[in-house]
Subunit: 260 residues, 2 copies
């Protein structure tokens, strides 16, 4: 089996209100590429957020006392902390330089996934980008738009790079999914003795996101979209929320030192 | 940029003492494929462990009182728990059906990565497989063997599928690395405004492992080895331990409820 990861070159700088599906379609055509049935299109969250105008100007944010307190602990800007709090269901951990939350969509991540730019607007305010309002809906919309433009049946994943517990370095993970099951049962290798196929529930959309992220990050020019071709998958409406473990099920959210 | 993920078909059932590098080389040739310079070969931990005879027969294990206690909590076999304890630096979490440890190599994972088979030996004992004694060394040895057989310069990653905190489903991660830096600095997409390239420390070997895992798990026949071709990477001796966060740096290992 051969799987191809194809970076889409030449996607222009995305602006709020842009038709992202059309921009990607045009870039694919301009590169002499084309979509095929059953392709998985992986798109970086940043460009989705920007097209959806999920931008906040920090100097228009009034930090609460709680944001000011957390700013003191983290050393981060209180207005940025307020934006993060507004995007969060719950704060999990705070220490110098770091705030880990359950982001509004249900994913545990640093800074609620808010991207900082360090770029000043003309009026002096710094603009930050939030995650999409509903990343599954964003994926569904992109999927419908590209299927409409191309006549091909595809799946779409919106990915981001997140840190994680226990391991260093960020990896690509899925925030939004359309057209495939985010969790899939895998018939893995036969067991060590060859008699039995082990069945495991695999974070499939996260593995695809990591694969795409590895290509996005290594391309010479910005490549915020990657086509994954030749990979069998279980179709379905799908939702990245399949990947979000509920707090009740997660042993690393609240529990204290091991007493066993 | 195009990256190819090539499953290597026809690798036979691996037995203890087998020359795994030669088996992979022969399978590549038999499939009409060949290694190219700068390929990354990703090999599933299971076949490495089996070739290295990292097998333990459970009925020869005498469980300690501690293993018996944890067996009561988890509902797992006390002899299996003893094997897990012998493979662990420290137990992090225990609950019904689950034991999470820092495995001897330094990685946090369930069951110390011990694979159960449910297959009885002729004498009635069940055999389980441990992780390689030193997975980086295993990767270096495989790399040297295949470079010797082919005259090509390659990198090698030994991967496994692990669960994680906060997210459902297993994903491929790196246990051993040779020939590339496991953590790499990534020139990512330009920021939202196109002015600045963000630099992030990426869990590169984990992203490659996830990409390979997604192919291994979808192949029609067992494909415990995948060639990743066309992906730029930072060469170097490398070690998967670059990816293991020290306990002092990890906020999710011991800390109690958030008080911020």
């Amino acid at each position: 089996m051969q799987v191809s990861l194809l970076a889409i070159p030449g996607i222009p700088m995305v602006k709020p209100g842009d038709d992202l599906g059309a921009l990607i379609h045009e870039a694919v055509q301009a590169a002499g590429m084309s979509f095929q049935d059953d392709d998985i299109l992986v798109v970086a969250q940043k460009v989705v957020s920007k097209a959806e105008n999920r931008l906040v100007c920090l100097d228009q944010v009034v930090p609460s006392p709680r944001a000011q307190e957390l700013a003191g602990i983290t050393g981060k800007d209180a207005q940025l902390i307020q934006v993060i709090l507004d995007e969060s269901n719950e704060v999990l951990k705070v220490r110098s330089g770091l705030i880990v939350v359950e982001q509004r969509l249900g994913f545990v991540c640093a800074n609620a996934g808010v991207d900082r730019s360090n770029i000043q607007q003309a009026d002096g305010g710094e603009v930050v980008a939030l995650l999409p309002e509903d990343a599954d809906a964003s994926a569904r919309q992109l999927r419908a738009r590209i299927e409409d433009l191309t006549g091909r049946h595809i799946a779409v994943i919106i990915n981001d790079s997140h840190g994680r517990a226990f391991r260093e370095g960020t990896v690509g993970v899925a925030l939004g999914v359309a057209g495939l099951r985010a969790l899939q049962d895998r018939r893995g290798e036969p067991d060590l003795f060859g008699y039995r196929l082990q069945i495991t529930e695999v974070g499939f959309a996260d593995e695809v996101s990591a694969a795409a992220s590895m290509v996005m990050g290594q391309a010479d020019e910005a490549a915020p979209a990657v086509i994954v071709r030749g990979l069998p998958y279980t179709a379905g409406e799908g939702s990245a929320l399949e990947l979000a473990r509920s707090k009740e099920k997660d042993m690393f959210r609240y529990s204290g030192p091991q007493k066993g």
